[in-house]
């Protein structure tokens, strides 16, 4: 099987995020960068498919020079090769277009993306990528089986779950629960160094980045208002006061 997994490098979930004073983005100094957690599920599923059916896994990532570390991490987990698209940042459409241009020549049987990246939280790239490649897409997948040339994917929805059968090739966007991503092992890390990574800029891919949307301003979330503690000794009176505040102040009941 010819498998592609797209990965994005994002700030560590535990990183303390500070918005730049001019609102153009976040302060990047001192941030620890990691593989987007949803992409980890995609990579793991790609590796499991390969281990079961044979073939190879290609990792594709768009981002600045530091994104190479994330590609190497995926190679250390067990992927065969990588493509690094050296465009620092782009809107969702152009990101998907760059990925599509890089993937086209590979003719994959299946493509994995995370259901969203935890930094911009757009959740669009997988679907646009599928559209640009003319492929079906199943989003938010928590279980996947490949049989008889078809992808059978489970996707939970409110109060139920759907079993979706898709023709292949297709794009799958991975949701938490799909699997338990493995850790990069020491032997894997030592081997990753020797695995090939193609580095391609926009020109090499034959694309130009023309943003269709842009982030106008980033503002930090408002400070959370301090909590309120209801005093007194009489539980009944305290409960009544709580109910009153929930209705009149918080307006939740």
């Amino acid at each position: 099987m010819n498998i592609v997994a797209c990965v994005k490098q994002v700030p560590d979930t535990e990183a303390l995020i500070k918005v730049k004073a001019d609102g153009s983005g976040i302060e990047e100094g001192g941030i620890k960068w990691v593989m987007n957690p949803y992409d980890e599920y995609g990579v793991e599923e790609a590796l499991k498919l390969k281990e079961k059916n044979g073939g190879e896994v290609t990792i594709v990532s768009m981002g600045p020079a530091r994104a190479m570390e994330t590609i190497r991490t995926a190679l250390a987990m067990g992927a065969e090769k990588g493509i690094h698209i050296t465009i620092d940042k782009a809107d969702e459409y152009n990101t998907a277009a760059a990925l599509a241009a890089a993937i086209k020549g590979i003719n994959p049987d299946i493509i994995f993306c995370g259901q969203r990246a935890i930094d911009d939280d757009s959740g669009q790239v997988g679907s646009i990528l599928a559209e640009l490649l003319g492929l079906p897409v199943v989003t938010l997948v928590t279980k996947l089986e490949i049989a008889d040339g078809k992808a059978k994917a489970v996707k939970p929805i409110e109060g139920a779950q759907l079993l979706i059968e898709s023709q292949m090739p297709c794009v799958i966007t991975a949701q938490k629960g799909l699997n338990e991503p493995r850790y990069a092992s020491l032997p894997g890390i030592m081997k990753a160094k020797k695995k090939p990574v193609d580095v391609k800029d926009a020109a090499a891919l034959g694309i130009t980045v023309q943003p269709k949307a842009k982030i106008v301003k980033m503002t930090p979330p408002p400070e959370r208002a301090p909590g309120k503690i209801i005093g007194g000794d009489d539980p009944a009176a305290k409960a009544a006061e709580l109910a009153k505040l929930l209705r009149e102040e918080a307006k939740v009941i």
């Binding site: 570390e69 991490t73 493995r182 020491l186 990753a192």
Partner: protein, 385 residues
């Protein structure tokens, strides 16, 4: 001089960091409170990650990397608990390296692969009821009788006791006094005449097996002799690396305590603001950071040089002694940052303080490290007798 880790080392650290946080940190409290020993099923995850036998040759299933790489892994693991770092200690800086240094081809093939797969770990037995710092006073005796040794004597405080399958037991092999008469024999669990005393209850490191080993006419095949009589004096290189491993336990614990204190100081409020805004707390944190950083650099230097084939009793003793001392200090300071919660068993820092306390005793006391340092510094060997 270059203080940067290689890309592989950075990636390895990151991977071990995540493994420690996600897989091991949730188990730490149970190890401590229930005294439950590290489960064999979790050991298989260490194997998958290549964490066993980092310094052992690839030929026997190790990774063939350096003592420094093992130190990096141990530091990340000991950050959540020294118990988590123990399997790396045992298979990368512990007695199995003595097999690698001294063993015959057959012995290496027999003992190293099962260490790398986690099936059979090796403990080290030097200390005796009447021989601790004065190690060369040991009296456990091995006598060759035909094709086997007969061992009599008793060992004390043996980490892994009752749990490990193999024991590198240092024994007196003749009437020769001091180091000259000492050799090392691997005794397998279940050997005739080999039994265990009751498990120790220590202040910290709860969940680490430790007990006496009792040898009563214990029979061991002569093929198990690894360090020949008198070879003990050539073990110094192995001990340098082992000291780095011991020091890294202290470093990891101190680093974990510092990280916990950093987080807590930013969350906990007093007088209407986070306590990290008080200079008194800032100075605690800054002092803790200085101690951790200094210990780290000393250990890294000693470990890198040992890996380059430039072992130095001076560097490894300075690193061990300093790290052992700051391990106590930093965990104590972290407890202070946590206030009453630090003294409570509901929070992790009191455990870290208890866990830090064993290392200045184990693997050669901090007093004996100072004896080493002074001797190396002054170019003299000071007999303690």
């Amino acid at each position: 001089m270059d203080f940067q880790l290689s890309e592989e080392q950075r990636m390895f650290k990151q991977s071990v960091h995540a493994f420690a946080d996600e897989r091991l940190a949730p188990l730490v409290e149970e190890w401590d409170k229930k005294g439950a020993f590290l489960d064999h099923s979790i050991l298989s995850e260490y194997v998958d990650m290549g964490l066993l036998g980092i310094t052992l040759p690839e030929k026997y299933g190790g990774a063939g990397l350096t003592a420094f790489d093992a130190v990096l892994a141990m530091e990340e693991l000991a950050r959540v608990s020294p118990l988590a770092a123990m399997p790396v200690f045992e298979t990368s800086v512990g007695p199995i390296r003595v097999v690698e240094l001294f063993g015959t081809e057959e012995q290496k093939e027999r003992f190293i692969p099962p260490a790398c797969t986690g099936e059979k770990l090796m403990a080290v037995a030097m200390t005796e009821p009447e021989a601790g710092s004065a190690l060369t006073d040991l009296t456990t005796r091995a006598v060759l009788e035909g094709d086997h040794f007969v061992i009599n004597g008793q060992k004390r405080f043996i980490t892994g006791g009752g749990y490990s399958d193999y024991y590198m037991v240092y024994v007196r092999m003749s009437d020769a006094k001091g180091a000259k008469g000492i050799g090392g024999i691997v005794v397998e669990k279940g050997s005739p005449g080999f039994t265990f005393g009751k498990q120790e209850t220590f202040m910290g490191l709860r969940g680490t097996p430790s007990c006496d080993l009792i040898f009563e006419d214990c029979i061991v095949p002569k093929e198990n002799l690894i360090v020949p009589e008198g070879g003990f004096v050539f073990l110094m290189q192995a001990f340098d690396v082992e000291r780095c491993g011991n020091a890294t336990m202290s470093l990891g614990i101190a680093w974990g305590a510092l990280e916990a204190a950093k987080r807590y100081a930013q969350e906990r409020k007093a007088f209407g603001k986070p306590i990290c805004e008080f200079q008194g707390v800032q100075f605690l944190l800054a002092d803790m950071a200085m101690k951790v950083e200094a210990a780290r650099l000393l250990i890294y230097r000693a470990a890198v040089n040992a890996g380059l084939g430039l072992p130095s009793i001076y560097e490894s003793s300075v690193a061990k002694c300093f790290a052992n001392e700051i391990g106590k200090e930093v965990t104590d300071m972290a407890l202070q940052v946590f206030g009453g919660y630090g003294y409570s068993t509901e929070y992790p820092v009191e455990r870290m303080l208890r866990d830090s306390r064993g290392w200045p005793v184990a693997g050669g006391t901090v007093q004996m490290q100072r004896v080493n340092i002074a001797g190396a510094m002054l170019g003299r060997r000071f007999s303690q007798r």
